[in-house]
């Protein structure tokens, strides 16, 4: 059935025929049916841009491909289907004393999506990105089912990690979990008065804690709040929680009403919320114990928060730059503020070593993620300018979140693109797997 689809940012809607295969055979059959405009897999639609859209062609919803089971319980290996959400996997693992080592900012993504984006968490410096804990992939391609792992067809494995779904539909994956004592984290939080203090605080926190993240007030010259987190041990928990240290704590759940006006939140409201957020944070470092999921997924507490940005939607501009180019973070915030495009949300993280995937986003250094209403006057030009600075600094923009990157800069940002293209040409010579993002950025023919 033809459906109008957008990414999480709700920009650039396009229509595609959505198919819901329930078995591996149905996925392969859907890829081999000769649709001239090709196909792309789509999970929970959390990619911000057009990565899981395929105008005029087929979109394969993977949500019927669900399931989690132990592949090797002793070793902590789980076998999960491509359409399984990380939330379901956590619900399976955590009560048994295990957790996924890498979780992005929302648990509402599928395994296929996590692989396609090679997602990272607040612990990249310690634990790397999703691929580091990925033992094996089973992929559907037009000519049938393929296996790939770091040992078996490593080129296909690494092309698929971060490969935006263009080198196969993830049917299932084997993931390595890590043991945990409790479902809580000890979080050390403190305010930072300006951007320099944020950078220094985050650098220090990333060296000392497993998790480290900074929230920046994009409307107030870069002051922020730095948080570092570590697994809480049973002894760290309040007495009440010690009896069931692995129990899930359901937080308050809010939903954005559907009658919201078509315009994004006015800047004055955002400034007020930012002020509140900053003032609530302690000026001297304070340690609290929080449920892991509340710490990792703050935005999951509000259903449909993407609607807060109004009818024209929003873009999330996330870039990474090497450590020596940290000044670009301030430059980016300054430039956007001067263009009248201050971000509504700005999150800064530290990246550790990259993996071997040609299109994987993380590189050692810093990453800044900015939420910006898409229709801000002047934003298009301002971001085009930032693309250039990021590329010149040896950095890159996160393709899985992209909705507007300058196509001529993709090759500079991802210098191994040709190696990726060679694998794509080998496994999908007819170019069946394609997407709006792939077309827009010229990744596919």
């Amino acid at each position: 059935m033809r459906e109008l689809l957008t990414g999480w940012g709700r920009t650039a809607p396009t229509a595609a025929d959505v198919i819901r295969p329930a078995t591996a055979e149905e996925v392969v059959a859907a890829l081999a049916d000769g649709e001239p405009r090709g196909a792309i897999a789509r999970g929970l639609g959390r990619a911000y841009g057009d990565a899981a859209q395929n105008a005029g062609g087929h979109v394969l919803s993977t949500l019927a491909l669900g399931g989690v089971e132990w592949a090797d319980e002793q070793a902590g290996l789980v076998r999960v289907s491509g359409g399984t959400s990380l939330d379901s996997i956590q619900r399976f693992l955590v009560p048994q004393g295990w957790a996924l080592p890498v979780l992005p900012g929302t648990r509402h993504v599928t395994v296929g999506g996590a692989v396609a984006a090679d997602v990272h968490g607040k612990n990249h410096r310690v634990d790397g990105s999703f691929a580091r804990h990925l033992a094996q992939l089973t992929l559907a391609l037009p000519d049938g089912v393929h296996r790939a792992s770091p040992a078996e067809d490593p080129d296909l494995f690494w092309a698929t990690v971060g490969g935006l779904g263009l080198t196969g539909v993830v049917l299932d994956a084997v993931l390595a979990a890590r043991p945990i004592q409790t479902a809580f984290v000890r979080v050390a939080t403190r305010r930072a008065v300006d951007l320099d203090a944020v950078l220094a605080g985050l650098e220090e926190a990333a060296g000392r804690h497993r998790y480290a993240v900074a929230w920046i007030d994009g409307m107030a010259r870069g002051r922020g709040v730095v948080a570092g987190g570590d697994d809480a041990l049973t002894a760290d928990l309040p007495a009440a929680a010690r009896r069931a240290p692995l129990a899930r704590v359901e937080g308050r759940h809010l939903a954005v009403p559907s009658w919201l006006p078509g315009a994004p939140m006015p800047p004055v409201a955002v400034a007020a919320l930012n002020e509140l957020r900053w003032r609530r944070a302690p000026s001297a470092e304070t340690t609290t114990v929080e449920p892991l999921e509340r710490f990792l997924f703050p935005l999951d507490a509000v259903d449909g928060w993407n609607r807060l940005y109004g009818r024209s939607g929003f873009v999330q501009y996330q870039f990474a730059v090497p450590a020596h180019a940290a000044d670009l973070i301030g430059t980016a915030l300054d430039r956007l503020a001067r263009a009248g495009c201050a971000p509504l949300l700005a999150v800064l993280k530290r990246f550790g070593a990259a993996d071997a995937a040609p299109l994987s986003f993380p590189i050692p250094g810093w990453t800044l993620a900015l939420d910006l209403p898409a229709a801000l006057p002047g934003l298009a030009v301002a971001l085009d300018g930032l693309d250039e600075l990021v590329a010149a600094a040896g950095g890159r923009v996160y393709l899985a979140k992209d909705a507007r990157l300058r196509p001529d800069l993709v090759e500079a940002m991802y210098p191994a693109l040709d190696a990726w293209r060679a694998v794509k040409a080998r496994v999908d010579p007819a170019g069946v797997l394609t997407s709006d993002l792939g077309r827009r950025l010229g990744l596919v023919g």
Binding site: R2, A15, R37, R311, A374, A380, A403, D436
Partner: protein
């Protein structure tokens, strides 16, 4: 593909020598547009526009002969253009004739011809384009209407009525295309200083092709269905539309 800010990579223009079209193309070329097909009547003038677009960075510019009154040729022409471009991210309907009201009133055949160009041809091209947009599942269709479409005036009602028909057609087409991934944007400029209006007395809120193009780019960013140029005309025309006829006639005479 169009990006999150409505910037197209491939553009098809009917009425390629229109000054508003050229102003819009210059802006789109500065963003993402790399391939353009210009359809129009005068091959020499089209080629001149093509040359200027290549200078501002459009990689590929093609020109094709387009005769608005030859509606039988439109389906084929639209198909060829789409086949050549792969996907068409933005189609601009920019052809049209203004005519001289007094001369048109004295020459019914000339008036009928103007209506065929401004309305009939727009219907034929619009439907052919819409069929291809449905197949590709995305694309913006920008139709240059006029404030004259809003309420007939003694001084230009032949032109105004043709634009009123065209305007209504594209608004309806926009509704028909909902859910298809394609989107129609109806642009209603006021008096624009161009070749077409040279020598005429400018009306209040007169504007320029560059300013009109800016408002279209803005409309692409915001996802507007109707774009007024200058934007204040939306409110001016809202008032004028509801004026009692005797008062409207008196204003129209001045």
């Amino acid at each position: 593909m169009n990006d999150a800010q409505g910037s197209p990579q491939t553009v098809l223009v009917f009425g390629g020598t229109s000054e508003i079209a050229q102003a819009l193309l210059r802006r789109l070329a500065a963003r993402r547009a790399h391939t353009v097909v210009l359809a129009g009547r005068d091959p020499v003038a089209l080629e001149a526009v093509a040359t200027r677009l290549r200078v501002v960075g459009v990689t590929a510019v093609h020109t094709v002969a387009f005769e608005a009154t030859d509606t039988d040729s439109h389906g084929r022409l639209v198909d060829d253009a789409f086949d050549r471009l792969g996907d068409v991210d933005l189609t601009l309907i920019a052809f049209g004739a203004l005519g001289d009201q007094a001369a048109l009133e004295a020459d019914p055949a000339a008036a009928a011809l103007l209506a065929r160009v401004n309305y009939v041809a727009a219907v034929s091209v619009g439907l052919a384009v819409a069929a291809r947009l449905r197949v590709q599942g995305h694309g913006n269709l920008v139709a240059l209407s006029s404030v004259a479409a809003e309420r007939p005036r003694r001084s230009n009602f032949v032109y105004g009525s043709s634009k009123a028909g065209m305007d209504a057609f594209f608004r309806g087409l926009g509704d028909a295309l909902r859910g298809s991934g394609a989107r129609v944007i109806v642009v209603r400029p006021g008096f624009v200083h161009t070749r077409m209006t040279a020598g005429m007395t400018p009306q209040p809120f007169a504007t320029t092709p560059d300013a009109v193009a800016d408002t279209i780019v803005r409309g692409l960013e915001t996802g507007a269905e109707t774009v007024w140029a200058p934007p204040i005309l939306r409110w001016v025309m809202t008032v004028l539309r509801h004026l009692p006829a005797p008062i409207f006639r008196r204003l129209d005479r001045t």
